[in-house]
Symmetry: C2
Subunit: 244 residues, 2 copies
Amino acid sequence: MNRFKPVRQPRVSEEVIEQLKHAFLVGHFKAGDKLPPERELANEFQVSRVAVREALRALESSGFIEIRQGATGGAYVTDLTFETLAGAFLDLFLAEKISVPELCHVRRLLEPEIARMAAARVTSDYSERLLEALEAEEIPARTLAEDFETKTNVHFLLAEMCGNRLLEALSKSLMGLTRRFVAAVQPDFQSMHPPGLHRPIVEAVMAGDGDAAAEAMRLHAEEFGQILMAMEKEFRQRPFPVVV
Amino acid sequence: MNRFKPVRQPRVSEEVIEQLKHAFLVGHFKAGDKLPPERELANEFQVSRVAVREALRALESSGFIEIRQGATGGAYVTDLTFETLAGAFLDLFLAEKISVPELCHVRRLLEPEIARMAAARVTSDYSERLLEALEAEEIPARTLAEDFETKTNVHFLLAEMCGNRLLEALSKSLMGLTRRFVAAVQPDFQSMHPPGLHRPIVEAVMAGDGDAAAEAMRLHAEEFGQILMAMEKEFRQRPFPVVV
DNA sequence: GAAAATTTAAAGGTCTAATATTTTTTGTCA
DNA sequence: TGACAAAAAATATTAGACCTTTAAATTTTC
């Protein structure tokens, strides 16, 4: 079974990280609170300022705090978001530990369920926003990035509607990978994802028909996945591959 | 749409991080390679050692390198793993940004598909290991942690078999959350997950019957999810809640 | 008196340099 | 040859000085 792990005596900054993290998690600090200045923390923890700074940086990069410079600056506790999760996904994708087909497969799995759940929780407010997003897709975009963002909106709305924050975070993170890939490949974006592809999905969701929404999304995910994978194939054969 | 983002002039260490990360991603360093010592890097980057150290720490915590002390110590490039992803999930779970029902829902979604894919890729080697894992479940465990690990093995094997690294990583990460939750609740583990629950799944996978495997897993995930959610309900009503 | 410019103070950002600790290698002596 | 000690190479940590940014307080100017 598991071999032994090498014993690593913890670093000073790690102790500090642990203590601060614990304080956040048990609620000694709430979002928006300001931690004491570095010098004071160094005093309290009885370590050097460098050690405190290392800890604060680490906590910043895992999304627990935000560090601001200047007179009213300092370390402010933030509400943990799914940003770091998305960052971890991105690193893995860039390091080619996640491939486009693998990504597509998971999205085919998640997105229909998200659509189904969204249909069960649709409100008039969301309906309106879905329609707006749909209309926005019709306006020709000037850049690839803008086009991508517009086409993404329906997916993001559905993810928010679905009521499962984990699912929402996964969907958004994976969409981020997709965006990154598309940005690297620089396809002809007018033809990649013509407007209107999302209409059947939105209609089913607005009708509250979960099964239909899931099926419409399944078809869309299938189709778009094929496009992405074809893009990847073509991309690999380019004479001068673009570095991401 | 999007307003402007506030301009943040990057920190010195961030520049260093970027450059090093880029070097890893384009392959200037391979896993196992050793980076130059801190002092040399500081020289090359024309920054202080402190800045280099901050960068190295950050890269360590995102899983790109491993820092060892001592004579043959230094920063060694590692093969990026899914560890940091799991860490991000864990933080979110501990900060209550992911609930147990949400977790269960996603697992109900992923696990059956994993079982289906595993069935399509089964080999005699994996069959053997699945049976071994199944037998190991029969041996009564001494601790909750040991029990959990044993019962997890079938899931881990299936995740490895499924052939999609992203799915594998998600499954394993979410299993980590489940473990954490169970460890906090400290249920009566003999009755929580009696041995043999995985047998129908393993049998279907070994028979190469994807549909049956998915269905068996669906049933299991459903059932175990109910148990977890009941555990949570009971946990919330305890007079002296245990802090994780 | 109001607006503009300047000063000040608080906080993080960075650097240098010294010392401590850890770990491996090398050397020495019984 | 084996045990032990010293050396060497690296990171870990500290201390303290100085820089930069930012917002608020103050002064100046019109």
